[in-house]
């Protein structure tokens, strides 16, 4: 599904993908570009089952492209080791951030959120990183609001989702290695 839109702004485009479009084009429509997009989409549809395509979208828990980079750099046991270490470290960051918030220590909240943005995005936990980003932004201006409190609370759930997403990916890699190796 391609969104045809008069809004060519970057933020607008991301919203379409979030809402379930596969691509977007701004009007007026250039016919050769439209043909290219349609060809690209039909190739993608042929290559991937629908459920998988949904998981690969912008709002996905994990960014598989980031994780796949790890396989180019490290062997499988090291990839597992690195990711498990991240999951442990980031769990501690989430706990500390929530404790900092409970104590109204907003500098600590800001520092931990900032580090979590970089660590999570680097380790493929894209939605955890996005949530940390919204907490970093709010920590300077909006820390008393209900919305901010909800974001801080949601970190636990989002971290759980990252754990599940990353472990699933690791299991997929193991599965591929076994079926490829035997």
């Amino acid at each position: 599904m391609i969104a045809l839109t008069a809004h060519a702004m970057k933020g607008e485009q991301d919203r379409f993908v979030e809402r379930g479009f596969d691509d977007y084009m701004s009007k007026p429509v250039d016919l050769p570009t439209l043909r290219d997009r349609l060809q690209r989409l039909s190739r993608q549809t042929a290559a991937k089952p629908p459920a998988k395509r949904r998981a690969d979208r912008g709002g996905a828990v994990i960014n598989k492209a980031r994780l796949e980079e790890f396989l180019e750099l490290f062997d499988a046991p090291d990839v597992r080791d690195i990711l498990e270490r991240f999951l442990t470290d980031s769990r501690a960051s989430v706990t500390n951030l929530q404790a900092g918030f409970a104590q109204k220590n907003y500098n600590e909240v800001l520092r931990l959120a900032h580090d979590l943005i970089g660590a999570a995005s680097n380790h493929g936990a894209s939605r955890l990183s996005d949530l940390a980003k919204s907490i970093e932004v709010g920590a300077g201006s909006d820390e008393g609001s209900e919305e901010f409190a909800l974001s801080v609370a949601a970190l636990s759930r989002e971290h759980d989702a990252a754990v599940a997403g990353i472990r699933n990916w690791l299991a997929e890699i193991d599965g591929k290695a076994q079926s490829g190796g035997s």
Binding site: E69, L73, R85, R111, H114, I117, G118, S121, N122
Partner: protein, 144 residues
């Protein structure tokens, strides 16, 4: 194959470990520092081929640390900033402080490693360090 030494300054343990391991895989020797104080000690004791420098450090602003490196040492190694965002005011500050480049952490570990390689291997900085070391070696030999 040794490509030279990289000083990595990053307070977040998981990012530090990840980047350190990736640089080692690529053949770099890595000195990792979790804060500005440790980074200063390493800088005094070594001659890195490049520096990867986080902006948010617990004890000092990375931008200030970069200015100190440039002011206090005669070393001309490339300094690449690690940032969480690429807003233009941050980028300008990095470059004004004597930094050479920046890479956004969300671009991923491969992008970070590629940036270090392009500032060292491709531009010959690690060769420069090697030539310097060889010259020193010859001088030492001549003095004996």
């Amino acid at each position: 194959m040794a490509l030279g030494t990289i000083l990595l300054v990053e307070d977040d343990a998981s990012v530090r470990t990840l980047v350190e391991r990736a640089l080692s895989v690529k053949g770099f020797t890595v000195f990792a520092a979790e804060n500005g104080e440790r980074a200063r000690q390493i800088m005094q004791a070594s001659d890195p081929a490049a520096v990867l420098l986080d902006i948010n450090l617990p004890d000092v602003d990375g931008i200030e640390l970069c200015e100190q490196f440039r002011a206090e040492t005669k070393k001309e190694m490339p300094i690449v900033f690690l940032t969480s965002s690429d807003t233009s005011d941050i980028v300008i500050k990095c470059l004004e402080a004597g930094g050479d480049d920046f890479v956004v952490k969300s671009a991923g570990v491969k992008a970070i490693i590629n940036r270090v390689e392009s500032w060292t291997v491709k531009r010959g900085y690690s060769d420069l360090a090697k030539t310097r070391a060889q010259k020193l070696e010859r001088l030492r030999a001549a003095l004996k």
